[in-house]
Symmetry: C2
Subunit: 250 residues, 2 copies
Amino acid sequence: MRRALLIGIGAGGLDQLTVEAVAAINDADVFLVAAKNRGVDDLETLRKAILRRHRAATDYRVIKVPDPERDRDPTDYGAAVRDWHEARAAAYESVIAAEVPEGGTCAFLVWGDPSLYDSTIRVVERIRTRGNLELEYEVLPGVSSVQLLAARHRLVLNRIGGPITITTGRGLARDVAAGADNIVVMLDKDLAAAALPGDWDIYWGANLGTPDEELVAGRLSKVLEDIHAARERAASARGWVMDTYLIRRA
Amino acid sequence: MRRALLIGIGAGGLDQLTVEAVAAINDADVFLVAAKNRGVDDLETLRKAILRRHRAATDYRVIKVPDPERDRDPTDYGAAVRDWHEARAAAYESVIAAEVPEGGTCAFLVWGDPSLYDSTIRVVERIRTRGNLELEYEVLPGVSSVQLLAARHRLVLNRIGGPITITTGRGLARDVAAGADNIVVMLDKDLAAAALPGDWDIYWGANLGTPDEELVAGRLSKVLEDIHAARERAASARGWVMDTYLIRRA
């Protein structure tokens, strides 16, 4: 039996993980990191910096797991994501079998919170379903970019008595058509909100928690240019942009 | 000019606050605590335990602010909540003016995360709007009970590509009628989900993060009795119950 810890490390730099996440980091032998090839090496650097800062003993290993290619423009989105999870599960399974001893503990440092648009829980469940490896696991929650966005704008996400919808850029038009009018959007590199009919207020952020964090707020139609300019600054500062925003019907 | 720190302390006991929240706790002179009269003294005890554990110097004060009465069954819910915020703002304003010196820093230890169905940001904004007191403030995000629920059930809150609705017990029927089918419900002491038509899966938790935490998961119609029994155990163990759950159309 091996053990995995899925540790939410927050979305705000080196110190936004919880005290219990720090304890979990000190409880693991091996850290598994997806080796992506999409210019987000910053996140790998951040994970290593978190380990240097919060891991007391130096007897740990960081192992990169090559991330399977993913079809970014599939005809069947759900099937493509499931295929990718399966490929990831196979990759992690073989690394865990080879690198984590029986009785050992490996950890995934999950950016933000593992429960929100993150694949780690699904991949670990897939490894268990495959049945080649006995793997127990535990999830430690972290602060998500949604909460960091709200904190930076000093926003309450809900209107009094009202609901919050959390969705992706891909799902935004569908959810607005269904009546959502107070919406947090994640994973939207194309600012899908710009194409919505009607008047909206936006509270936007990119690269939250980095030294080059960008924030813009206002009537969407009036701040679109500010957002595009801020995205360009973020991209040229760090080589990547991660957007999160709240829109609310005006 | 005075300063306020709105510090999310997480929903999971003494160590679920972030390292940066610990630093903020060590940066404040006065801690303001709402003196409620509704059997949730546990939360006050927890806040004091967090201070004992994470505050290095002992030169701090904890000041109870009597919490205004709130109409729990109003004809106009929004207006009643706004009146209550105004009364709270007046109460905090006078305590801050009397107890926090010019240039001093006070802090609110907010259970969970300040951006989610919490009134602290609105009350502080109200104090600023009233204009009697110059008050700067900063929000530090925390892990919410939503994320702790997900971690305990090892859930990803979204289905692949799908949205998440977060709402209250009061708003649930309205949001389901509007088409929501993957819903986190907070502040629902009457388990409004039990009255919904159709088949639902539920992932339920109460008093998360306490030693008497309760978890139930399954087809809603089959686990209703388990949930009622678990609520009674939680209530008799601690004198109060706080529920959070995810329901997903089966």
